[in-house]
Symmetry: C2
Subunit: 150 residues, 2 copies
């Protein structure tokens, strides 16, 4: 069983324990987030869920995401001037690669920031609980696009 499947099962258990019902629509939203390295906005999730469940309303998407946020299975990522994207890829902090041209957000696996947190804790007195590391740039596809247009 893959890591994602295990996480999904665990999540489903906890949802049930909390008295939640897992409707097909909810499952669709959840699957679109958990273990997915795309980082969709509420609107994008809505569009995709509607393919299978045309009646789905945006409110349902928001309500589902909000449950997942409470369970710390999904975090928000805000990009300057853009709406919120939701990231349920791993359930813990990890770096992102954000294309400033097409606004795509990808995950990067490596990019360990090493001993930085403990150094910072020592120097500032903060109790460090997490971090966010995002790189901004232009993705290969958009670079090609640029080249064609010039």
């Amino acid at each position: 069983m893959s890591l994602t499947e295990r996480r999904l099962n665990n999540l489903i258990c906890r949802l049930r324990e909390d008295g939640h019902r897992l409707t097909p629509q909810r499952m669709a939203v959840i699957k679109m987030l958990i273990g997915n390295t795309e980082h969709l906005t509420a609107e994008q999730i809505h569009e995709r869920v509607k393919v299978d469940f045309p009646m789905t309303s945006l409110a349902t998407v928001y309500k589902t995401v909000s449950v997942l946020k409470e369970m710390h299975e999904v975090q928000e990522i805000s990009v300057d001037g853009e709406g919120k994207h939701f990231d349920g890829a791993t359930g813990h902090p990890h770096p992102h690669l954000i294309c400033t041209s097409c606004r795509r957000i990808e995950d990067i696996d490596f990019a360990d920031i090493g001993p930085l947190p403990s150094e910072i804790a020592e120097q500032t007195g903060y109790r460090i609980e997490g971090h966010r590391l995002d790189f901004f740039g232009v993705c290969p596809a958009c670079q090609e696009e640029e080249a064609r247009n010039s």
Copy 2:
């Protein structure tokens, strides 16, 4: 002349060149951002400007900030579930230390992320243009608070 003063002068020049007029209110907003390691929200900037210029409207603050954003002198920082904060501390990316308890945002000077950007560029094909590194934690003051309340 300090770095901040130089940056401020340079900025003022460019604003004039672009045909902007530098009213006292605008100057107040600009000074509240450029070289200031506090990271205020629009509302907070508004409150402070109103001390000296009580008639100032929120729209003016937004319009001024928007000019600075276009000139890449100010960037937005979004904290999950919070409003936007504006950061005009250095004009280039630098790490932040965000207290999850009192929502204070501080700058950190060191914390060089080293060769990571070029590694990532090589591995992903992105043209990396910048990054954002934020640490989340609890500041010393809030830790004391916690201790007192337990």
